[in-house]
Symmetry: C2
Subunit: 342 residues, 2 copies
């Protein structure tokens, strides 16, 4: 119906022209509606809605300095423990109007470094890191670009960087002491690659120290480092079972591996916990529904994500945030552990 030669483009200028006002006024309608006269505001909004106009975030970020985006780096999404901490971060940021860019490093520090570089390129307002970043240049880059960040899943050596974590070592001790208190002496360990994953390393250390404290020698033939899938736990347990003298308990530093290990024991004709005790780590939902229900150490993944996000957003707003925040872990005793059979 309009006989204008050029349809209004999806830009603030187009909207301004169509509404008969200046670009500044349109911008104000969007960002500070109460500073413009109601009648003008309505007119502008009408044009905006008719055209499904949506403000260009790139241009806004360029001009305004803030992207309202935060970056989250995790090793993997498929492990449900990371999924739940990520979901918590996501939820909080999303509610606060921030978008979340997720990068997945697959436990590869080199790749992580490159991905973080891309986050900087995208001028995220802040970053949440998971675990240790082995690349030394990372902190420098982040600092140079003035990007605040918080580290989760591990407390950083330098007190300056804010962390939200729990004590992996203490948690590992909790699990081991439970088994030792039940009388177990020959205990297998299944955990992640301690060379590439500092959480795995801490737990392995807890395993060794707990044994040492009771005067038990560590038998490395009972230690198996694997990826975090059921199949890996299954296979590792098989290896432990076939190493005589047969262990009476297994500490799986991850519930997934623990459930895989239970399946292996079942497959070998062993009863859990009658013949062999198994303890996990994480307290994933599956722990309550496995057969038998899994004894494990509860890790506050969602809390960790939420708190990390809260702290990061505070940092982004320029509020100071004190050092590290350590969350408690709990031993959850269920049905997969029992006193050593006599």
């Amino acid at each position: 119906m309009a006989s204008d030669s050029k349809p209004p483009p999806q830009t603030i200028r187009g909207i301004a022209k169509a509404a008969g006002v200046s670009t500044a006024t349109v911008s104000r309608v969007i960002n500070a509606p109460n500073t413009v006269k109601p009648s003008t505001r309505e007119a502008v909004l009408k044009v905006i809605n008719e055209n499904d106009y949506i403000n260009d975030g790139m241009a806004r970020a360029l001009a305004g300095g803030r992207t309202k985006t935060i970056g989250v780096a995790i090793p993997t999404i498929t492990n449900s423990i990371y999924a739940s901490s990520t979901q918590a971060i996501q939820r909080l940021c999303q509610t606060a109007g921030y978008a979340v860019i997720l990068v997945v490093s697959d436990f590869d520090p080199v790749r992580e470094r490159e991905l973080i570089r891309r986050l900087v390129e995208r001028r995220v307002d802040g970053i949440i890191l998971t675990g240790a970043d082995h690349d030394p240049g990372l902190h420098r880059v982040l600092e140079r670009h003035n990007i605040p960040y918080v580290v989760t899943w591990r407390v950083e050596a330098e007190a300056a960087v804010p962390c939200v974590a729990f004590d992996n070592y203490a948690a590992g001790r909790l699990a081991m002491d439970h088994l030792l208190d039940l009388g177990h002496r020959r205990i297998g360990l299944i955990c992640g690659e301690s060379g590439v994953n500092d959480r795995a390393l801490q737990r392995r250390k807890a395993y060794c120290d707990a044994l040492a404290d009771r005067g038990i020698a560590v038998d490395t033939a009972l230690i198996h480092e694997r990826a975090f899938e059921f199949a890996d736990g299954y296979e590792a347990a098989g290896a432990i079972l076939s190493t005589p003298p047969r262990a009476s308990a297994i500490f799986a530093a991850n519930d997934i591996q623990a459930v895989g290990a239970m399946a292996a024991c079942r497959g070998a004709g062993l009863s859990v916990p009658g013949d062999i005790s198994i303890i996990g780590f994480d307290d994933l939902p599956i722990a309550q529904f496995s057969a038998p229900r899994l004894t494990t150490v509860r890790v506050p993944a969602a809390d960790m994500g939420r708190i990390a996000a809260e702290r990061l957003l505070a940092l982004v707003d320029g509020k100071p945030v004190e050092g590290s925040h350590i969350l408690p872990v709990d031993l959850i005793v269920r049905d997969s552990t029992a006193p050593i059979p006599t």
Copy 2:
């Protein structure tokens, strides 16, 4: 050591000045290195590295038109089936140099609509949608802003929009026919909210039709719509077991619910599959490691994610992409189903 009054800022102009070239040359060093003389290139790169300069993606997006970012909308991350399709998308996009912005709708179409709006605001180059979007305005907005998108987990009614999915209805029939072929006649159903989740709706329909085809009346007391957690499956199975005459089989339209249901049966003193058969849906990793191993329908989640990402990136590159892509599903028979006890 330099006595210049102003340190070079983290901008292309700063780098240009420090390297004694023009901004165009710096830009070329970054985007088309082979068009600049090697000696000049080295000099510029040196300055870039010394300063940890990272190109501003916002400015680049503004000037260049592409953000190299794609948006992914999913209902939840914590359900491992979405996690794995998301991971596949993530991996492919990341490799192709695209960042992924993840938005989580929690099965709420209104929220989803708002979140998609934000993706448009961020000028993502493309969007991957999950399942049905109930908001009618969505397609219009996306089209108006010229943002290509593909729909996963469901084939869209309009042939024009590219989809990557499998046939939920057929998959549901597959599961039901398996139970019916084993002789089961009184079968419970546990599924998601069919009102808000069209995948759940399709599976429920398959359940009803399969029964009808064999002349069995549907007893709505055996149908339970719940959320996708173990606990929900557990509780729903409890309800089914206490509805006489007792069902001899349960179709859980989700492996998580199925495992929860198995726990409930075990708790009620019933043997699976001796007393009652249970079939799941999805073929999550847990299905192979539950006790007993779960019979289920394998859903090609990772493939779906990968293919959806491939198609989207093709669209983004302006290549045409034909209509819907339907992936096959398989019945995976394990140990949780057996002929009806005589």
